[in-house]
Amino acid sequence: MIWPIILLIATPFLIGVSGLVVRDRQTLDVLHCVQAGIMMVSSMLLVDEVSMSGPVSFFYFLHADAMSAWFDLVIGIVAGTGTLYAVGYVGEQYDRGHVSIKRFRQFFMLFDLYLGVMLLAVNVENLGIMWIAIEGATLSAALLIGFERSKGALEAGWKFVILSSVGIALALFGTILVYYSSEQLLGITEEALHWSKLYEVGDQLDSSVMKIAFIFILVGYGTKAGLVPMHTWLPDAHGEAPTPVSAMLSANMLTMAVYAILRLKILTDQSVGTEFTGTLLMGFGFFSVALSSIVLLLQEDFKRLLAFSSIEHIGIALIGFGLGGLGVFGGIWHLLNHALAKSAAFYGAGLVLITHEHKFIARVTGLLREHPAGGVALFVAGLVLAGMPPFGLFVSEITIAANAMATAPTIAYGFFGVLTVAFATLLFQILRMVLGMPMETPSSTVGPRCRAFSTAAIAVNLGALIFLGLHVPDGLHNLIGAILPFFHAEGEYF
């Protein structure tokens, strides 16, 4: 069955392009609800398909194996709820007269394009085209971050353009090096960049070239994944972008960048062994968790707070992948649950930002009483992000920590230390906002349309988080079983 993957990737492009001709808001709203539905359903169907009957390919262009299907699920579901939320959020800006219908259409064209290229990046067969898709995501994100054209947004956007371009240039150099090495074996053809071919000859690739290539790619795509010390664009971009875009940056783009790094890690491991890449991933992961755990405490802006929490969680996932073994399970489970929780938290934060028109943590209290939807979203997502049972992030963190304890105790102690600080600080900041009595009267209320759409988006995300915390569907179980062999990992999960 080929159509879930086609639908998943083609829908955002088609609906995005339709923005060129569709001029009224009502039709755009309907189209984007359809898009959200298609993305969520087709990503689940794709997971089902891949877990039952193996990889799906479309000519030599798309090839979705278990790895791709997993990331399709993460990006597809969150992109779906993100689209719903964007319809509500940007629609509210339009109702208030902050954006014209022209800007409204521009926003959705860019937003759909952005989602489309991200889905393309995790499914293409060709390493070079994956680079092009990721660059496409960078460029569309650049315009989305600066969308509000305030001084802050322009500064954040410029920083993002410059840093990401540098990162992506490094990744291209790494890609060229991979090709330089693989064309000696596969000849000067396009196939020398195909994942499936590369994995067949991976153990014959020259190990010194692959080492240098991996470093370039890790630093390059790591810039997009927000790894410390290349993270400096991330809090600014997440803080200043329109909130639906912040949610997509955090939940989807960082995840996509990790996907790219993992693909190359699998390839590099074949010729170099897992220790080289594992150590690098753990190093970057550890510093990301350590730095963000401290900054979380000092943060005064709630969107930047969530941004630093993203740096931390990507770091945790990378430590899992670096450890190998069941840590890989921890890593992928972590990415899925983090994406759902972080986007839900941003949806809640966006509602607060619309009604209070500022981003100070200290001036917002009692959200549970004041804002049922936004308060619940921040509260539940805060608990999830702080690794509370029964949610998925608890499972993944315990797995990673136990695995670290078994294989590298020194890393485990450090990991426990920074993790404790990070979660205590995050929980402190979130609880400060959601509990107690409202201290400040909101300067406005959200319209019914925005409230309906954002509540729907939040409900889907929180529902999925609770469901995954209590029950693991067979499809996902099989999919994890198919992903672990990529990393030469095995063991009992769940």
Partner: protein, 222 residues
């Protein structure tokens, strides 16, 4: 197929790569913004010549197409856009920097040595024709980074980015005999769009901040 003996071909490719590197140094040493743009265009012409040489010597035809695109996009379209921006914004034509020119040139010299050092273990794998170009390409990429971090104005940061792109293209053409055609086309498209987006941004930054001096943008930090 080549009518030139392989070692003369190899010398020519190396000569062109070296000229590319030389223009990098010229950009670092140049104070006037307009001249920087011209030097970038000149560098792109050298790049196209290198690509044509490689295409001729190896008989791989799609590299010719890449050379034509290089001339069109990097030597004509992008320099025009950049010059238009410089004129429109009426930015001071002098380049402002964090480090002075002699220090900059010395640093770049160090970067070239570093590039040769990094690539030393892997050049022996390459094709005989273009073995030394990989190191030169990496050197150009590193100097591009240096231009980006050492300059204050948005426009010169863009030139740094484009120099990096040229270095990457040299790496792809010279070391790997060109990326597959579809990838190459995609990269050109992305570079062009990146150029346009940067143009949009500089314009908006000028309107919001009254200047394209990026050192004024420092509101966002911890």
């Amino acid at each position: 197929m080549p009518t030139l003996p392989i070692n003369i071909g190899s010398y020519l490719v190396n000569l062109c790569s070296a000229l590319l590197l030389l223009t990098c140094f010229a950009i670092v040493a140049q104070r006037r913004l307009m001249a920087c743009v011209d030097l970038f265009a000149l560098q792109s012409v050298f790049l196209a010549v290198t690509a044509t040489l490689v295409a001729y010597l190896t008989g791989i035809h799609h590299i010719y197409l890449a050379a034509v695109l290089t001339i069109a996009i990097k030597a004509i379209i992008l320099p025009r856009i950049l010059k238009k921006i410089v004129r429109q914004l009426n930015v001071q034509r002098e380049v402002s920097m964090y480090v002075n020119i002699p220090t900059g040139l010395l640093t770049c010299g160090g970067l070239v040595i570093l590039a040769f050092f990094i690539t030393q273990p892997i050049v022996h794998l390459g094709f005989l024709l273009t073995q030394d170009s990989l190191a030169i390409a990496l050197a150009i990429v590193l100097i591009g980074f240096f231009i980006m971090v050492s300059r204050l104005k948005a426009v010169t940061q863009v030139i740094g980015f484009l120099v990096i792109e040229n270095g990457l293209f040299l790496a792809a053409t010279a070391a790997a005999y060109g990326m597959p055609l579809i990838v190459e086309l995609g990269i050109f498209f992305d570079v062009l769009v990146a150029g346009l987006i940067v143009g949009i941004y500089t314009h908006q930054i000028q309107e919001a901040f009254g200047s394209v001096d990026t050192s004024r943008m420092k509101a966002l930090k911890e």
